[in-house]
């Protein structure tokens, strides 16, 4: 019994991290209808920025979250406004090709800047753990899960209660109506991309603390985000959370009870099954009802 609970606990912790890593991808997909294949690059950029900033400022890596998010927000805004928007205007598939190309280029730029060597962020509590009854928890992973839940809640609150959130939702649900009401849709798209990039950057910090990373990992985080979004549904932090937790639990339960080499098999099997039975994901498209 302890083993089952331990495995589920490990899965939830891992799933929380997957959820945060995917929420930005989900938002861009839901609002802009863009499949951002450079999402993994934004995640890794967050990890590298946290590594540099925590070293320079001598602070805990999690305390660099606001600064990293601000930088990534600005980069995301500019990236969408001055690059992706033109591709979207050109053709429906333009954005896929563009973001794929940008991902390839930026991966090489990152190798040039940071070297291809693996890096890792090691906070002071990197090697501590604690127990709740018989279940042991890795303090780093739990702190990252807490950070993920806080950030996902903040994003949900931003989308639901703030003026920016209302405008984003309105634009996603009825672009033409929003435009007729005076909303600057291009600006809203860029703001959405900025917010998504900021959350990808925050996820990068969390991932950098939990796992060693190198520029070659960008594809993994784009792919994981894609799976999470398909499982959970598009456009909402809740969908990303459900998809992420599901993915995390499937991953650890498979590793424990079927074999450590099988998580990817069950993960993609689940993806195929869900695409057949419920292609809109478990929670559906958060912005779909008014379309």
């Amino acid at each position: 019994m302890t083993l089952v609970v331990q495995t589920i606990a490990d899965g939830l912790v891992l799933g929380g991290i997957y959820a945060l890593a995917a929420v930005g991808f989900s938002l861009i997909f839901g609002v802009l209808h863009v499949i951002n294949l450079s999402h993994g690059i934004l995640v890794l950029l967050g990890a590298y920025l946290a590594l540099i900033l925590s070293g320079v400022l001598h602070v805990d890596p999690l305390l660099t979250v606001p600064l990293v998010m601000a930088i990534l927000f600005a980069l995301g805004y500019v990236y969408q406004r001055f690059l992706i928007q033109y591709a979207v205007d050109g053709s429906a598939f333009g954005s896929i090709l563009l973001t794929f190309g940008v991902a390839l280029m930026l991966q090489n730029v990152m190798i040039w800047l940071f070297s291809p060597d693996m890096k890792n962020i090691t906070p002071t509590y990197a090697f501590t753990s604690f127990k709740l009854g018989e279940i042991s928890f890795d303090a780093v992973r739990v702190s990252c899960l807490v950070a993920s839940l806080v950030l996902l809640s903040l994003l949900a609150a931003l989308l639901k209660f703030s003026a920016l959130g209302r405008v984003i939702r309105a634009t996603a649900q009825q672009t033409m109506a929003a435009r007729l009401c005076g909303v600057n849709v291009r600006h809203v798209y860029a703001m959405t991309f900025g917010v998504s990039a900021a959350f990808a950057g925050a996820a990068g910090i969390v991932i950098g603390i939990v796992l060693p990373f190198s520029p070659a990992d960008e594809g993994t985080w784009t792919l994981n985000a894609f799976v999470v979004v398909v499982l959970g549904g598009v456009g909402s932090p809740a969908g990303a959370l459900i998809g992420g937790l599901l993915l995390g639990m499937v991953s650890t339960l498979t590793a424990q009870y079927i074999g450590p080499s099988f998580p990817n098999v069950t993960m993609f099997l689940l993806l195929v099954v869900l695409l057949l039975l419920r292609p809109q994901g478990l929670l559906g498209n958060a912005f779909a009802p008014s379309r």
């Binding site: 083993l3 331990q6 495995t7 490990d10 891992l14 991966q107 090489n108 190798i111 070297s115 291809p116 060597d117 693996m118 890096k119 890792n120 090691t122 990197a126 090697f127 501590t128 753990s129 042991s136 890795d138 303090a139 780093v140 992973r141 796992l211 060693p212 190198s214 520029p215 070659a216 993994t220 991953s251 650890t252 590793a255 424990q256 074999g259 450590p260 080499s261 099988f262 998580p263 990817n264």
Partner: protein
């Protein structure tokens, strides 16, 4: 406008005349220089981007170091009475076997006769198949999978023993530990190198009389090992052997520390050799063991550099990147090629292949000798066992090369920090 054009034209013509005159006057000297040193092209691909880039860069730097030393410091190499300058034609294969095969095929079509290997068995294997079919030699330090050496290739030579034979020295060390360990478990990832390496671990450890508790296969890309560590805590072996790339090794070590999963000795094939790996684990890196195929303190005489220390000195004058054994192995590939050509007294690919097959050369890296199948001799190129002691990687086996005694058993993680 017309006069200006005329002036320009005149100037161009006169400058061309001066240049032509200079070229004519200088021609005998150019010819003389050409007569002094011909160019010998060695081709290949290396992963400078993608998943294998970290070690790929080390391999690339090793090739460059040796060629640069031979050309710039020694003024070229003499083969059959003629002076040659070496020219490397290496391209980035982006850690992609498909791209690597295209690059190698193109170089073959362009007439390249000699090849160096990429890094990673998944890349070396398909590229070696192409060069072998074309009867062009390949000397490589990046592929250890058995598949490279068991397909009957005649033109492929590797600086390591094949993966299933690489663990023999480590198993011998395990056997010599006091108190003698009795059980082991092994973890590997789902890729060509790790899988065959794990097979080698099982063969060697079983032959050494160690009882296998469990074998764990992880996916090629690992993000979490909590379930495996849970199993290890419930069925704890004396020795835990991890054969995978350094990034995954670090993840396992970190999660072991965080979950206080203890074994008497943790052996990680790749990882503890790197200063960055030891730095990331801090005091927890103490007692970790790994394989290393070269150490600058183990002294062999070298025809070109003199010895390991001089090689390291020259490397450091060219690169700021910390040196690793793959750098030395790659430089040794170039030395081996040159010595084989000198022994063959020819740059004919087939003659050089025969000289490589008969090689018994001393280099700063090791004594180079290949098995009839082309992989490194198990005893001469089987490497050393290193252990992290006081933050430094000490050679603890074999005894003849040891700089320290192996420390065993290691204390639990919480007693190290």
């Amino acid at each position: 406008m017309a006069p200006r054009m005329n002036t320009t034209r005149r100037r161009v013509v006169s400058q061309f005349g001066v240049a032509l005159g200079a070229a004519t006057l200088g021609a005998p000297f150019v010819r003389h220089a050409e007569a002094q040193a011909k160019t010998l092209v060695i081709g290949g691909s290396v992963p400078l981007t993608g998943a294998a880039a970290e070690t790929g860069l080390n391999v690339n730097n090793g090739y460059i170091t040796a060629v640069s030393y031979m050309n710039d410091v020694l003024g070229g190499v003499e083969i059959a009475g003629e002076k040659y300058k070496l020219e490397l034609k290496l391209f980035d294969d982006a850690s992609d076997p498909a791209r690597a095969t295209t690059l190698i095929q193109r170089q073959l079509d362009e007439g390249t006769n000699f090849f160096l290997g990429s890094f990673g068995s998944n890349i070396v294997l398909p590229t070696a198949a192409i060069t072998d079919r074309a009867k062009k030699p390949m000397v490589q330090t990046g592929g250890g999978s058995d598949a490279i050496f068991t397909k009957g290739y005649k033109y492929v030579f590797g600086m390591f023993p094949r993966a299933t034979r690489q663990f023999a020295a480590t198993a011998a060390m395990f056997k010599a530990l006091d108190p003698k360990p009795e059980t082991y478990s092994v973890i590997w990832t789902n890729d060509a190198f790790s899988k065959t390496a794990a097979e080698g671990v099982r063969n060697s450890c079983d032959a050494a009389g160690l009882k296998r508790i469990e074998g764990y296969e992880l996916p090629a890309k690992v993000t979490d090992v909590s379930s495996v560590l849970g199993s290890i805590r419930s069925k704890t072996p004396d020795l835990l052997v991890c054969v995978m790339h350094d990034q995954d090794s670090l993840l396992i070590a970190r999660q072991m520390v965080a979950t206080n999963t203890n074994v008497k000795l943790l052996f990680q094939g790749l990882g503890p050799q790197l200063a960055s790996f030891r730095e990331a684990l801090g005091k927890n890196a103490e007692y970790l063991c790994c394989s290393t195929y070269w150490d600058e303190n183990v002294s062999f005489k070298d025809k070109f550099f003199g010895d390991s220390r001089k090689f390291v000195e020259y490397y450091k004058s060219k690169f700021t990147r910390p040196i690793a054994y793959h750098v030395a192995g790659a430089a040794a590939c170039i030395e081996t090629y040159v010595m084989a050509m000198q022994a063959a007294k020819s740059i004919n690919p087939e003659a050089v292949r025969d000289a490589l097959a008969a090689a018994d050369f001393e280099t700063f890296y090791a004594r180079i000798k290949f098995t009839p199948q082309g992989d490194g001799d198990e005893l001469l190129l089987g490497g050393y066992i290193g252990q992290v002691q006081k933050g430094k990687l000490e050679i603890v086996f074999p005894q003849a090369a040891a700089s320290a005694k192996p420390l065993y058993p290691s204390p639990p993680w919480d007693k190290k920090a």
